[in-house]
């Protein structure tokens, strides 16, 4: 049984159907990418999974739980962490407090503090700025904080929405390095990316979205050589 399973899921903004009848699975241990042009419905899909939004129809299950039956704060407790588009760090709280709140669902304070120290080792710039308000961090630092904060809940599945958006190429590479490393440590990842080439190189499987629907899917290595995908999304 897949860890995450979407069946014929549709999501609307009022009368506008942003996601139409999509089916998608993520197996435990995978990195799966979701690519597609601006406005294709990628963010909406992630928002439906973490239950920031209520899907109109279809089914949505994670690790044996029906996610349609619960609200966003419960989805986290089941083990899904969402690092949303535009980072959404808590600008008026410190880096340390953002991380602490990332572990809101946990009660093991000694372990939480140990995890925060590990985050500072993994993201040294966050460690240097631990007392600073998150709103004063640079874009790259905020992205790292958003990822670190999501990890603080010790998720089974991490949803990442455009972690490379607006970042310098060297930081983008750093972030993809971290994604692979996390996956090697056992975190399953569903990644939404504009940088399709890099995303496909870094993932096991890829779904391609177009105007709210999934148009192609398959192992990333195969799709990356598929003429149609190549033409439409990889600029060649």
């Amino acid at each position: 049984m897949p860890l995450l399973e979407l069946n014929n899921l549709s999501v609307n903004y009022g009368a506008v159907q942003a996601v139409r009848d999509i089916s998608l699975t993520v197996e435990a241990g995978e990195i799966v990418t979701l690519i597609g042009a601006n406005g294709a419905g990628k963010t909406t899909t992630l928002r439906a999974i973490s239950r920031m939004m209520k899907p109109r129809s279809g089914t949505l299950s994670f690790d044996g739980h029906d996610l349609l039956a619960v609200s966003a704060d419960v989805v986290v407790r089941y083990g899904v962490a969402h690092s949303p588009e535009g980072r959404q760090v808590l600008a008026r709280q410190s880096v340390a407090d953002n991380l602490e709140l990332g572990a809101f669902i946990r009660r093991d304070s000694a372990q939480i503090q140990a995890d925060i120290r590990r985050m500072y080792e993994r993201f040294p710039r966050l460690g240097e700025r631990r007392g600073q308000l998150a709103g004063t961090l640079s874009g790259g630092e905020q992205q790292m904080l958003a990822i670190a904060r999501a990890l603080m809940s010790r998720p089974k599945l991490l949803l990442l929405d455009e972690p490379s958006l607006g970042l310098a190429p060297i930081i983008v590479l750093e972030i993809f390095g971290i994604i692979k490393e996390l996956n090697a440590q056992g975190v399953t990842i569903l990644l939404v990316e504009q940088n399709a080439r890099l995303a496909m190189q870094s993932s096991h499987r890829t779904y391609v979205m177009e105007a709210g629907q999934i148009t192609f899917s398959g192992p990333s290595a195969e799709l990356a050589n598929d003429e149609r995908v190549l033409h439409a999304y990889l600029g060649g």
């Binding site: 704060d73 949303p84 600008a91 709280q93 709140l101 809101f104």
Partner: protein, 324 residues
């Protein structure tokens, strides 16, 4: 003005100002979370005073459904000792907090879950305020109620200090009001600033969507906020009522308006601002000469007007271009 009357005014101002702060903080908490003013807060203040009165006296006058009722024919067990007063104030305030939670359910949550304009919740809270005021009137009539004598037990009624030839009077009530308010404000500041719950509360205030992604139940924290706000409002009502009496069901209306002046003066959504605003208005009123005390109510708003001309964001408020 000589030194002793100056000091006397400062003491009076701090005492009443600290109640304003306590009361106004209820507005601030709810405003920080929902971005709207809870117009039923003044009614909760009133209810707090009546609840505590009921516990400590239980004797009702000649109007309303409860006319002539005396809950404690042999005197309330809570009357006559400082601990009894503390306990009835606590229970009265907790009950007020619970009423605030019910108000959230009835007037705010239905609007929120339908995505209605926040202005509508404001109007529905105003409706709830009227309902509460009328219910009080139906139950116990429109007359004023005084707390029984000696509710502070063995504590002396006032402390007198000689300063030269003059005497400064510190009423026990004032010390209680100031002490209780300041301790509560301090505790609240620590809870909101330092604890996990406080951090989560601030997360909900800053961005409810993000807060829910972290596993924070936004609805639950809204309930907690309303409870705290109602508790503070009810306690403020209790303190004022026990000191000056309950002036009838509309008792809280003046305080409700003054509380608005306090939070705008201090800076909307700012907790230190509510405290500072409360103290400033309390002090300003205390310095109104006795001959002009009829204009007491105008002082808060005149002060507000002048300060907003200079600092439109209030004393400690940040200029908000837009809500994030």
């Amino acid at each position: 003005m000589d030194l002793s009357s100056f000091l006397q005014n400062v003491l009076n101002g701090l005492a009443i100002g600290s109640v304003y702060a306590l009361f106004a903080l209820g507005y601030t908490l709810i405003f920080s979370i929902l971005g709207i003013i809870n117009f039923a807060h003044g009614a909760v203040f009133t209810l707090g005073a009546y609840f505590t009165y009921t516990l400590i006296s239980g004797q009702f006058e000649n109007n309303g459904l409860l006319k002539g009722v005396n809950l404690f024919p042999n005197g309330s067990p809570l009357a006559g000792s400082a601990w009894g007063f503390a306990l009835s104030a606590l229970v009265g305030s907790v009950l007020a907090g619970l009423v605030a939670v019910v108000i959230e359910r009835l007037a705010f949550r239905p609007m929120r879950s339908r995505g209605a304009d926040p202005l509508l919740a404001l109007v529905s809270s105003l409706g709830v305020a009227l309902v509460i005021v009328n219910l009080i009137q139906i139950l116990v009539g429109a007359e004023s109620y005084s707390f029984p004598d000696g509710i502070y037990g063995d504590l002396p009624g006032a402390l007198l200090f000689k300063l030269g030839k003059k005497t400064i009077i510190i009423r026990t009530v004032q010390v209680i009001i100031f002490g209780v308010s300041m301790v509560l404000l301090l505790i609240l500041g620590l809870v909101i600033g330092r604890t996990r719950t406080g951090k989560a509360l601030r997360a909900v205030a800053e961005n409810p969507g993000t807060a829910s992604l972290l596993g924070i139940s936004v609805d639950r924290f809204i309930v907690i906020t309303f409870f705290l706000a109602g508790l503070l409002g009810g306690l403020a009502g209790t303190l004022v009522g026990s000191s000056f009496g309950i002036a009838g069901p509309y008792f809280g209306v003046t305080y409700g308006l003054k509380g608005l002046a306090v939070i705008v003066l201090g800076g909307l959504g700012s907790i230190p601002g509510a405290v500072l605003g409360g103290l400033v208005i309390g002090l300003a009123e205390a310095f109104v000469p006795a001959d002009y005390s009829a204009y007491n109510q105008a002082v808060a708003f005149a002060l507000l007007f002048v300060i907003l001309l200079v600092r439109p964001q209030g004393l400690l408020g940040k200029l908000q271009i837009q809500k994030v």
